[in-house]
């Protein structure tokens, strides 16, 4: 695991998040997207003493989420199908952008397209950046920079959890059985 320069982190135990009402997808309902984000936020919240609360007002939310295409004004233009999937900024910027040109899948059904990308996998990764984690060298880690099309990787591994625990400390309710069963899960560690 790595951190951004200066190890920036949030100093609050509740972070609010909101979805852009204009930069969104037509083919996914907002409920579908919100359900995916809720699951991803809950994963990180189960490990560290930080909770995430959805709010309606995008302008005042700590974490701002939107789907953007091409050059969208932050100096990091998206590049169409595949390639760069999404990016998120370090604390305390709070912006999370997803490439609207991707074929986002929310139910794990990859049969429809060979360029389908699992939204929950990418969202879980980008939330790690929002919290201050950098990329990991461990391919099994959620924070590994690359994700092959039509693959799902949403379970936090030892590497992901160790990195975020060092930044925020442990959630007092941390239950090991909530972590992944994979051979390198914290629980097995």
């Amino acid at each position: 695991y790595t951190y951004f320069d200066g190890k920036p982190k949030w100093n609050r135990d509740t972070l609010t998040y909101a979805f852009s009402k204009t930069h969104k997808l037509e083919y996914l309902t907002s409920d579908d997207v919100k359900t995916v984000f809720r699951r991803a936020f809950d994963q990180w919240a189960s490990v560290i003493p930080v909770s995430f609360e959805e709010v309606d007002d995008y302008t005042v939310a700590d974490l701002k989420i939107g789907f953007f295409a091409g050059d969208h004004g932050d100096g990091q233009p998206f590049d169409g199908v595949l390639g760069t999937l999404a990016h998120a900024f370090a604390p305390k910027n709070g912006r999370l952008h997803l490439d609207a040109a991707e074929t986002w899948v929310v139910d794990g059904d990859f049969k429809e397209s060979d360029v389908a990308v699992d939204l929950e996998s990418v969202v879980t990764h980008e939330i790690g950046h929002l919290l201050g984690l950098g990329h990991s060298s461990q391919e099994s880690a959620v924070m590994y920079p690359s994700l092959r099309p039509r693959t799902k990787k949403v379970d936090l591994t030892v590497d992901d959890v160790a990195g975020v625990l060092k930044l925020y400390g442990a959630n007092p309710n941390l239950r090991f059985d909530s972590l992944t069963e994979s051979e390198d899960s914290l629980k097995n560690g």
Binding site: Y1, T2, Y3, F4, D5, Q76, F78, D79, G80, V81, L82, G83, T84, L85, A86, H87, A88, H97, D99, A101, V115, V117, V122, H125, E126, H129, G134, H135, S136, S137, Q138, E139, Y144, P145, S146, L147, R148, P149, V158, D159, A162, G163, D184, G189
Partner: protein, 122 residues
């Protein structure tokens, strides 16, 4: 059943974009240090995008990188391999090129390079 003309046109357009923006580096597998091969400049642009090649390493100080597989590129490839958990060879082997062609997060890897990175205690 014949699809209406308009939808066919639109589908074609999307595919074209994907080819333009995420090059397939497979042509560069096993390209040797010192050789001049078309497409190496795109690889340098990719590695520059994610923090591995500095602009002046392109050989002529500007963002138009050369097609020469030079020393800085070899070093950049070995850094990329180290950061992404691949065997560190400095060469464009198949696993490295395949990973470079895979979709990824847009956040650069510079924080893995400048700070070094923490090893995980097992």
């Amino acid at each position: 059943r014949n699809l209406p003309e308009e939808s066919i046109t639109k589908a074609t357009q999307i595919i074209h974009v994907s080819n333009a923006t995420w090059h397939d580096f497979s042509r560069l597998v096993d390209v040797q240090l010192g050789s001049h091969v078309s497409g190496v400049s795109e690889l340098k642009r990719y590695l520059h995008r994610f923090g591995y090649v500095k602009e002046d390493d392109g050989g002529d100080g500007a963002k138009n990188f050369s097609d020469v597989f030079d020393g800085p590129l070899e070093y950049a490839i070995s850094l990329y391999q180290q950061n992404l958990g691949l065997p560190i060879t400095g060469k464009l082997d198949t696993s490295t090129v395949t990973l470079m062609s895979s979709p990824r997060c847009g956040v650069t890897d510079t924080h893995m390079i400048d700070n070094g990175f923490h090893t995980t205690a097992h």
